[in-house]
Amino acid sequence: MRSPFGLLLAGATTLAAAFLALPLVALFLRIPPGVLLDQLSSDVAREALVVSLKTSAGAHIIVLLVGTPVAYLLGTRVFRGRGLLIGLVELPLVLPPAVAGIALLAAFGNRGLLGGSLEAFGVSLPFTQAAVVVAIVFVSSPFYIRQAAASFAAVDPLLLDASRTLGRGPGRTFLRVALPLAAGGLAAGSSLAFARGLGEFGATIIFAGSFAGVTRTAPLAIYAELDRDFDVAVALGALLVVFSIAVMAIMTLLLSWTRSSSRSPFPFASSISDSTSA
């Protein structure tokens, strides 16, 4: 590492690490820890956290239930239009959240494409907690589906074939072979999507509005409190940082667990992969 190139690498890395860590550290130094904890128990913070957890959990259930079969299809089947479908599924990853918000309004708003049909059923999405859930599903689902599809694709197809030849239907093969083998990756994608959902801001404020106790999630509360009570904003921010770090840690653990566990949860499965690789 003493070569000029080595020094360059070390220098760039030090710079990057300092740049990324400094704002987060500064957030915690901004107010004393005691005040930070105090602020977290304030009504504003508690209300926002409850809204955030409720909507994120609701959205996450939908993402898992619908996203898992989609990811399985994308990860294990080759069909016409697959590339297009992958592009569509992943688009929200790169779409500015504000655009997602306007797009959701254009589709599901009271004057949107489906607004009239929804109204016929007595449903009006904007300004409701359901709207927050819709916004979160829209922006966070790609994080799960992407990772889940990759995990399903990494499952040895010979194992799935073996399961089928041994008389298991496709549904049972999915449940008993593919799902357990991909579980670690699915969980990692799941935590990433949950974290992204919890941080959702742009689409929510445009599509769902901001009302304490109903649609004002933690990120929206940070924005609302910025000019009212800066300490609450900082405290909520710090909490979200802690949460993000926890998600990263869980994800790393889960991914390393998959790598070791995909070798041997099923003796039968591992013997096949051993024999094929031998």
Partner: protein
């Protein structure tokens, strides 16, 4: 004097930097096309100035924040240069048929107002209290961070009504309709401007504030729908 203001920035230095309430966007850009503007909620701008933002002039939609900043030694004595009125807005065509304050109490009305601590939000709450209709607040479905947020939710038709400044209705063009509110419920909404104490271009800042009170400034403000002090 106008030439001096209009010519700021032409000497190659940084242009005059003005932090102003969103509702002043059109008229300020017209008065000083060469200046650099930061238009946002008055409260948000005050936070930025407290955090050390570099600005020369601060113009707010409420005396509260310039007053606070003056006490904190961040800006000079604020001078009121315009006044505004609250007005109710409904989407173009008024689909919900809202004509007056009392109509807002209907159960299916979706009302959008400014949040607490945001000038437009505080004025709205004050007006409803004075009208004896604080119950209308139960129809609020969203509390926005600035006038723009309120106006946008009404303009796209998601909200049935909202409260903004009368000048915003003109700025929004044909997307919303304004419904005047009784004068006795209103109190004059004062817009003060102040030179930032650590302004890099203090003299130009002073001239900009004077421009706002000059005949040309007053004419432009009046044309935009502002009242004059």
């Amino acid at each position: 004097m106008l030439a001096l203001v209009a010519g700021c920035g032409s000497d190659g230095g940084e242009p005059l930097t003005v932090y102003a309430a969103s509702s002043l966007t059109a008229v300020f850009e017209q008065l000083a096309p060469d200046a650099r503007f930061n238009f946002a909620g008055s409260d948000e701008l005050a936070t930025q100035l407290r955090e050390g933002a570099q600005a020369d002039v601060y113009a707010a939609a409420s005396p509260r924040y310039p007053g606070e900043l003056h006490e904190e030694g961040i800006v000079d004595e604020p001078i009121v240069f315009a006044t505004n009125r609250l007005v109710m807005v409904v989407p173009a065509g008024n689909p919900s048929g809202i004509r007056e304050l009392d109509d807002l109490a209907a159960a299916d009305v979706r009302l959008v107002i400014g949040g607490e601590g945001v000038p437009i939000g505080d004025y709205t709450r004050e007006l409803l209290a004075r009208a004896g209709r604080p119950d209308v607040l139960e129809r609020v479905v969203s509390e926005e961070e600035d006038v723009k947020g309120v106006l946008a939710k009404v303009a796209v038709g998601e909200a049935d009504a909202g409260f903004v400044y009368t000048t915003d209705v003109r700025a929004a063009g044909g997307d919303v309709e304004g419904i005047e509110l009784p004068s006795e419920l209103q109190r004059p909404i004062e817009y003060p401007a102040a030179v930032v104490r650590e302004a890099e271009r203090g003299e130009e800042a002073q001239r900009f504030v004077e421009l706002l009170r000059s005949p040309r400034g007053r004419a432009a403000l009046r044309a935009a729908g502002f009242g004059l002090p």
